[in-house]
């Protein structure tokens, strides 16, 4: 089982059986660059001068005590913060493939198509499972029935949900269990083929078995997507992520390979947090 051998035991990124090995990355390829980001909710500063790169097809974990700005940073990556009145980026840039997504000329819809999101509380639409998954595709004008059918199956298989729901695709998504709902949300996100998937505490409302399934799923998705996950669970961060960023009071304290963060942190605050002495 994948979750049985945590990546920190593994020097290279673990490869899954069946998935083609990526062209061995000599240097790290960067998908998104956050540079000197300052972020405010009204007058309170939630992020202070955050600089961080997201690497392609890696799992990056954001950790830190409650209120330190993890969700805020995550939501800066797909501009979900635009919805909040008074929230604004006061300085710095967020580049995806070199384009600053906060630039005036950038279409926010385009950004969100390329950066998918899975929320803390599973939120399937009150529609059928099938419609949940095709929703994003239909928005962007995909109508071809047989193609949609194929994508639904592919997305559900991708989210390890196909076998459980293949006989009830046309029943309400709200009829699934909490863990299944969360995987449905993941399937919904991957159906539109984003490059980056943001996950904000995706397992915090789930029991250990459902959590294990999602973690396993993240391992599989890593081959195709760049994943950012916020978690309060240190073991989880250690198990699923390649890189870990530790935040404290809106600042990025340390960002390094997960193995280093957990075994050999550079900063005493990181050391104290990961060993559970504060936070």
């Amino acid at each position: 089982m994948v979750i049985a051998d945590p990546p920190l035991m593994d020097s290279s990124a673990p490869e899954l059986a069946g998935t083609p090995p990526p062209p061995a990355p000599a240097e790290r390829s960067v998908v998104a660059q956050i540079e000197h980001l300052d972020f405010f909710y009204g007058t309170t500063q939630a992020l202070k001068d955050v600089t961080l790169d997201l690497e392609s097809r890696k799992v990056t974990a954001f950790i830190g005590p409650s209120g330190c700005g993890k969700s805020t940073l995550l939501r800066c990556l797909n501009r979900m913060n635009d919805l909040i009145e008074g929230a604004r980026v006061a300085g710095g840039t967020v580049r995806i493939h070199g384009t600053n997504i906060y630039d005036r000329t950038v279409d926010v819809i385009e950004v969100r198509k390329r950066v998918g999101m899975v929320f803390q509380k599973s939120n399937p639409f009150p529609k059928s499972i099938y419609e949940n998954i095709t929703y994003g595709l239909r928005l962007h004008g995909r109508r071809d029935k047989s193609r949609l059918d194929a994508i639904v199956e592919q997305a559900l298989r991708g989210a390890a949900l196909w076998d459980e729901v293949k006989d009830r695709l046309h029943q309400s998504g709200l009829g699934l269990s909490g863990g299944q709902q969360q995987r449905l949300c993941i399937a919904r996100a991957i159906a539109v083929e984003p490059e980056i998937i943001l996950m904000d505490e995706p397992c915090s409302a789930l029991d250990p078995v459902a959590t294990a399934k999602i973690e396993e799923l993240i391992q599989e998705l890593r081959a195709r997507f760049t994943i950012v996950i916020v978690t309060h669970n240190m073991q989880q961060a250690a198990r699923v992520s390649d890189r870990t960023a530790f935040f404290y009071l809106g600042s990025l304290v340390e960002y390094a390979d997960t193995r280093d963060i957990f075994t050999n942190p550079a900063k005493p605050q990181t050391e104290a947090y990961v060993s559970g002495r504060f936070g």
Partner: protein, 533 residues
């Protein structure tokens, strides 16, 4: 770290003695106060229901005797003949309509002067006069019989009044006086003899009429244009149908039996399906709710037609798309509408809206609109437009609640998938709150069907089923409504009279309607709560 002491756990404090009054603590008092308030609401509702039922229930007995006397005094018999003469009158009207068209053609197409045109129509006028006059003997017979029947009814009512007086005196203990009142029972069979004896005369007249009409049709003048000819043909056809109906009338008169009791359900059906509401008439009162019900429904339907798009649209805008500054501006404005006293709205309706709409209808380039131009400024359109104003705040407020109650997660998920604001609203938020919106509309409907002042002032108060054959143009006709009739007539009816009870029955129908609407709205709302969690 907490030192591991083994101190005894703290005990629960023993409840202190509290201030008691009559064995009740303050908590009990508060409990009773709130419980009492809730109870009062339940009791009041029960009382209202009971009261309405009690006052209304007597209606059926009274209505039955109302129908009974209609038959026993021979009014029903006379009305059979009256129906026939009324049909004749309708045909005469058809002819005069035809004359108007013919005349128009002569004046406008043929450019005749008025005298010339009248001269050209001489033949037609002679025909029309003969047609109209043909029914006169029958009508004379009918009115003689009508007087007689009215006389019987009056006599009967007199004895009824005497009986009541006698009963009152007896109840007051004045037995001697009570015995002094003489009451002669009416021998209906003898009284009705003149009616029965008229049957041979009727037969003769009816046959004469049939003969004359058939003869007249043969020499009907032929109009000059195809369109007019078509109308003339239609007239001939209608007349033939009318004449063909004579034997049926005769048969009805022959088999009519004054002693046959009126079935009990007629008292009920004549109210529920009766097409006439006619009170304080010298002939016969009718209490049929249909014209009022239809009036209320039409006005309410038009109001909803206008208010639903407005209210729901505004709710969607305010809850989903507006900035918070716009919200602060729009919401109080809409909610304020409901604070305007309805009598003020009604006044506005009469003076400004009704008049403006009428003048608008007379603008020539708008005459293509159905029903335009019209001359009655108070009608369904005026009342419905104003009622829409009443419904908008209700629909808006409830629909906005429903929209705001859609879990935030749905909206975020949709936006995160790359949907635009508008797509999110239309594809996720509105469907998710649909049942809430539907119940908002239902409650808006309940609000307008119960509204009184505006319809009383602006609906035109004509107690008639509007002419649906006019299609959409029906909205330019005046109607009366269930609420309006109660407000208008309740003040002047005699307590416990049949009219009084009939108004209560109308009230009861309104009450039940409101109950059903509210129940349905709540049911839908509950299902919606369950479905969105």
């Amino acid at each position: 770290m907490i030192p591991p002491t083994v101190a005894a756990p703290p005990r629960f404090t023993v409840s202190r003695r509290r201030l008691r009054l009559l064995g009740l603590t303050a908590d009990d008092g508060i409990r009773w106060f709130f419980g009492g308030n809730a109870l009062i609401a339940v009791i009041v509702l029960t009382l209202i229901t009971l009261f309405l039922f009690r006052e209304g229930a007597g209606f059926f007995g009274q209505n039955r005797s109302n129908l009974e006397i209609y038959r026993r005094a021979g009014l029903e018999y006379v009305d059979f003949i009256r129906a026939q003469t009324d049909d004749h009158t309708a045909l005469t009207r058809y002819l005069s309509d035809l004359r108007v068209r013919w005349m128009t053609w002569l004046l406008e197409q043929e450019r005749h002067s008025l005298e010339e045109a009248n001269a050209r129509l001489e033949d037609f006028d002679r025909f029309a006069d003969r047609f109209a006059g043909a029914v006169d003997p029958l009508r004379e017979l009918m009115s003689g019989l009508a007087d007689h029947a009215s006389g019987i009814k009056a006599k009967y009512q007199l004895t009824q009044d005497r009986r009541v007086e006698q009963a009152q005196l007896a109840a007051a203990g004045r037995t001697a006086e009570a015995a002094g009142i003489e009451i002669s029972a009416i021998d209906f069979e003898r009284e009705l003899e003149p009616l029965r004896e008229s049957l041979p005369t009727y037969r003769q007249l009816s046959r004469d009429l049939a003969g004359e009409l058939t003869a007249l049709l043969a020499e009907a003048p032929a109009p000059p244009t195809p369109a007019l000819r078509q109308r003339m043909d239609r007239f001939a056809e209608l007349t033939r149908e009318y004449v063909a109906g004579f034997p049926a009338v005769e048969h009805r008169l022959e088999t009519w039996d004054s002693a046959q009791p009126v079935p009990a359900h007629r008292a009920f059906t004549s109210f529920l399906f009766g097409r006439q509401w006619l009170t304080a008439s010298s002939w016969q009162d009718w209490y049929g709710i249909v014209p009022l019900f239809v009036g209320s429904l039409l006005v309410a339907a038009l109001a909803l037609l206008l208010a639903v798009p407005l209210g729901v649209g505004a709710a969607i805008y305010v809850s989903q798309l507006a900035s918070s500054r716009e919200q602060r501006l729009i919401k109080p404005c809409i909610e304020f509408i409901s604070a305007i006293p309805s009598v003020v709205l009604g006044f506005f309706g009469i003076v400004i809206l009704g008049e403006t709409l009428r003048q608008l209808s007379q603008v020539s380039w708008l005459s293509w609109l159905p029903g335009f131009p019209y001359s009655e400024r108070l009608n369904i359109l005026t009342a419905g437009s104003l009622l829409a104003l009443v419904a908008v705040p209700t629909i808006f407020t409830l629909a906005e609640d429903a929209l705001n109650n859609v879990p935030r997660g749905f909206k975020e998920a949709s936006l995160a998938l790359g949907a635009s604001q508008l797509q999110t609203v239309l594809k996720i938020i509105v469907p998710a709150s649909l049942s809430g919106i539907v119940s908002a509309v239902l409650l808006g409907f309940g609000r307008v069907i119960g509204e009184t002042m505006i319809v009383l002032l602006c609906a035109g108060n004509r107690i008639e089923i509007p002419d649906f054959t006019r299609g959409v143009a029906v909205v330019t006709e005046p109607v009366h409504t269930m609420t309006g009739i109660i407000a208008q007539e309740m003040g002047e009816v005699v307590r416990d009279s049949i009219h009084y009870r009939a108004l209560f029955m109308v009230g009861l129908v309104l009450f039940l309607l409101a109950l059903v609407i509210n129940y349905a709205a709540q049911k839908i709302m509950r299902r919606y709560r369950l479905s969105t969690g």
